[in-house]
C-alpha cells in the first residue's frame, strides 16, 4: 500500500507541475500588457514601463514562473490588476460560496444516483428500471443552466419560496444555505443522472458474481446482499467516475453561479476574463486544476483502500 501511495503522490506532484506550466504558458500568449491595462489607455509609455518593472513583468518568463510558484507556496498569489487587491483573499471569499455549493451538489448526486442506480439494477429489465433509465437519459440531456433557470421560474418567480439569486453571506447560515439550495439542485441532478447509470451497470456486474450467490445461499436476504455485498463491490468504478465528474461539476458551477448571481469562483473568473485580469484567471484556473487533480488523487487512494487488487497491479 505504501509503495502504491508513494507512486500516486509522485504522479500527483508531477501532474500539478505540468498543469502549472501549461496554465502559465497559455497565459503568456494573452495579447495586451497587464501594466497597460492597469494604467488605462492614456498612460505614458514611461509609466507603463515603470509599473511593468515594479510588478516584475519585464523579467524573463522562467523567472516569473518560479516567482509565481514560489509565491503561491507562501500563499502570496500577487495583486489583481483590476481590483488592486491581493488575489489570495479574493479567491478565498469566492471559495466560501463555491466550495459548499459543489459539496452540496455532489452529496445530492451521490444520494440520488446511488439509490436510483441500485434500485434500477435490482429491477433490471423491468418497468422500474426502464423508468429510472429514461429519467437519467433526460437528466444527462438537460443543460444544467437551463434547469437552473427553470428552478428559478418555479420556486422563485412563481412560488416565491426562495430568493431568485444573490448571496446573503455566511453571517446568516440559514439564509446562506437557502440561497445555495436551487443552484445545488441544478448542478446535482445532472451529476445524479450520470452516477445512476454508472451505479446501475456496476451493481449489475457485481450481482452476477459468485459471491452474491454464496451470500444468498448462506441465507442473507436479497436486500442485505444487494446493499452489503453488491454495492461495496461496485463502489470502485462509481467513485472513479464521481471523481472524474467533479471537474465537470466545477465547470458547471461557473455557469450556474452566473444564473443565480452567486459571488463564487465562477463569477470571479468570468469577471476577471472580461477585465483582462490575467493573474486572477491564472490562479483561478490553477486552483480548479489543483482541486480536480487532488480529488482524483484521493479517489485513487480510496479505491486502492477499498480494493486491494488495485494496489497489487500498480506495484
Amino acid at each position: 500500500m505504501l509503495l502504491y501511495v508513494g507512486q500516486r503522490v509522485a504522479l500527483f506532484v508531477a501532474t500539478l507541475l505540468i498543469a502549472s506550466m501549461v496554465v502559465f504558458a497559455v497565459m503568456q500568449i494573452l495579447p495586451g500588457d497587464a501594466a497597460q491595462t492597469m494604467l488605462g489607455p492614456t498612460a505614458t509609455p514611461e509609466a507603463v514601463a515603470a509599473l511593468s518593472h515594479k510588478l516584475g513583468l519585464d523579467l524573463p518568463a522562467p523567472i516569473r514562473y518560479v516567482r509565481w510558484i514560489g509565491g503561491a507556496m507562501h500563499g502570496d498569489l500577487g495583486l489583481s490588476y483590476a481590483y488592486g487587491s491581493p488575489i489570495g483573499p479574493l479567491i478565498a471569499s469566492s471559495l466560501a460560496v463555491s466550495a459548499p455549493l459543489a459539496l452540496m451538489a455532489m452529496v445530492l448526486a451521490a444520494v440520488i444516483g446511488l439509490a436510483a442506480g441500485v434500485y434500477a439494477a435490482d429491477r433490471r429489465g423491468r418497468a422500474g428500471d426502464a423508468i429510472v433509465m429514461g429519467f437519467s437519459q433526460i437528466g444527462i440531456a438537460v443543460p444544467n443552466f437551463w434547469l437552473a433557470i427553470l428552478l428559478v421560474l418555479v420556486f422563485a418567480v412563481t412560488l416565491r419560496l426562495v430568493p431568485a439569486g444573490g448571496f446573503p453571506g455566511w453571517r446568516d447560515p440559514a439564509r446562506a444555505i437557502a440561497a445555495l439550495i436551487l443552484p445545488a439542485i441544478a448542478l446535482g441532478v445532472v451529476q445524479a443522472a450520470i452516477v445512476t447509470r454508472v451505479t446501475r451497470s456496476a451493481v449489475i456486474e457485481a450481482l452476477n458474481e459468485d459471491f452474491m450467490r454464496t451470500a444468498r445461499a448462506k441465507g442473507v436476504s436479497r436486500r442485505a446482499a444487494l446493499w452489503r455485498h453488491a454495492l461495496p463491490n461496485a463502489l470502485t468504478p462509481i467513485l472513479t467516475i464521481m471523481g472524474l465528474q467533479f471537474a465537470n461539476l466545477i465547470a458547471g458551477a461557473i455557469v450556474v453561479e452566473n444564473v443565480f448571481v452567486l459571488p463564487g469562483l465562477g463569477r470571479l473568473m468570468l469577471q476577471s476574463i472580461s477585465n483582462r485580469d490575467t493573474l486572477v484567471v491564472e490562479n483561478g484556473v490553477m486552483l480548479l486544476a489543483l482541486i480536480v487533480i487532488g480529488l482524483n488523487f484521493i479517489v485513487d487512494i480510496a479505491c486502492a483502500a477499498i480494493d486491494p487488487r488495485l494496489r497489487a497491479s500498480a506495484a
Binding site: 505540468i18 440531456a141 438537460v142 443552466f145 421560474l153 418567480v157 472524474l244 482524483n296
Partner: protein
C-alpha cells in the same frame, strides 16, 4: 449471415428515437439556410414579447424577434459547432491514437499521460481559458471544444487499435511486410470505426451542451449570430414578463442532446452486440 439478418433493425427504441430526433435537428438546420418564417435577427419593437400566434408560432422576444425563426437559425450554430469540434477531435485523436498504438514504449506512455492530464480540464474550463486568451466567439469556442475531444478520441483509438493489432490478420499483414500506414488504413480503421462513430455521436452531444453554456455566458456566439445558449441568456432578462421564452431554446437543446445520446446508445448496440451485454 443472411442478408435479412444483417438488415434486421437492431438497437431497438433508442436507435430509432435517437435517429428521428437527430434527423429533425439536421432538417431544421438545413431548412434555416433557405427559409425561416422571419429573418431571425429582424427587430420589431412594436410587436415585442408577443404571445404565440398564427403569425409568430412561438411568439416574439424582448426585441420583437420571431422566436421560431431564432430556434431554427440556432440549430445551425449547434450543428456547425458539433461537426467541426468533433471533426477536430477525430482528425487529431485518430492520428495520435494510432501513433501511440503502433509505436509502443515511451511514445505511447507519453501520449497517454498527456491525454490523462487533459482529461482533468473539462471542455468548458478549457474554452473559458481559450476565450480569455483569444477573445470570445464561435470559432474559439469550436477550437476549445475540439481540443477537448482530441484526448478522448486518442485514448479510444489506441485502446481499440491495440486490440486489432494483436489479431492474427494484423500480425499476418505485418509479417507479409506491409507498412504501418497500410495496416492502419486496411485493417485497423475499418475495425475500430464502429467504436469511433459511437463516441463521436456522444462527443457531438457534449459539444452542443458546451456551446450552449459558452454562448449563455457570452463567450460563444456573438451578436448578431443566433444561438440557443444566447437566447436563454436573453430570456433570463425577461423571466418575469415572458417566462415561456426560457422554454423553447432549452427544449431544443435538451431534445438535440437526448437524440444524439440515444442514437449513440442505439448505434453501440447495433454495431457491437458484445458491448450491449456489458452495459
Amino acid at each position: 449471415m443472411t442478408l435479412s439478418a444483417r438488415f434486421r433493425p437492431r438497437g431497438g427504441l433508442s436507435l430509432w428515437l435517437g435517429a428521428t430526433l437527430v434527423a429533425v435537428l439536421i432538417a431544421a438546420a438545413v431548412l434555416s439556410i433557405i427559409w425561416t418564417p422571419y429573418p431571425p435577427t429582424a427587430i420589431d419593437i412594436p410587436h415585442k414579447l408577443a404571445p404565440p400566434s398564427h403569425a409568430h408560432w412561438f411568439g416574439t422576444d424582448n426585441l420583437g424577434r420571431d422566436v421560431a425563426s431564432q430556434i431554427l437559425a440556432g440549430s445551425r450554430v449547434s450543428i456547425l459547432v458539433g461537426v467541426i469540434a468533433v471533426g477536430i477531435g477525430l482528425a487529431f485523436g485518430i492520428v495520435l491514437g494510432l501513433i501511440a498504438a503502433f509505436s509502443k514504449g515511451l511514445v505511447e506512455d507519453g501520449l497517454m499521460k498527456l491525454s490523462d492530464f487533459m482529461f482533468a480540464f473539462p471542455a468548458l474550463l478549457l474554452a473559458i481559458m481559450l476565450t480569455s486568451t483569444f477573445g470570445p466567439g464561435v470559432v474559439n469556442a469550436i477550437i476549445a471544444i475540439g481540443v477537448y475531444n482530441v484526448p478522448i478520441i486518442a485514448k479510444l483509438t489506441r485502446a481499440t487499435a491495440n486490440g486489432v493489432l494483436s489479431r492474427e490478420y494484423a500480425l499476418a499483414a505485418r509479417a507479409a511486410g506491409r507498412g504501418p500506414i497500410a495496416i492502419a488504413v486496411d485493417h485497423v480503421l475499418p475495425n475500430i470505426a464502429p467504436a469511433l462513430i459511437v463516441q463521436a455521436t456522444i462527443q457531438f452531444a457534449i459539444a452542443i451542451l458546451a456551446e450552449a453554456a459558452l454562448s449563455y455566458l457570452g463567450l460563444g456566439a456573438q451578436p448578431p449570430q443566433t444561438s440557443w445558449g444566447k437566447m436563454l441568456a436573453d430570456a433570463q432578462n425577461v423571466l418575469y414578463n415572458a417566462p415561456r421564452l426560457a422554454l423553447y431554446p432549452g427544449i431544443a437543446i435538451a431534445l438535440s442532446v437526448l437524440g444524439l445520446n440515444l442514437l449513440g446508445d442505439g448505434l453501440r448496440d447495433a454495431l457491437d452486440p458484445k458491448l450491449k451485454a456489458r452495459s
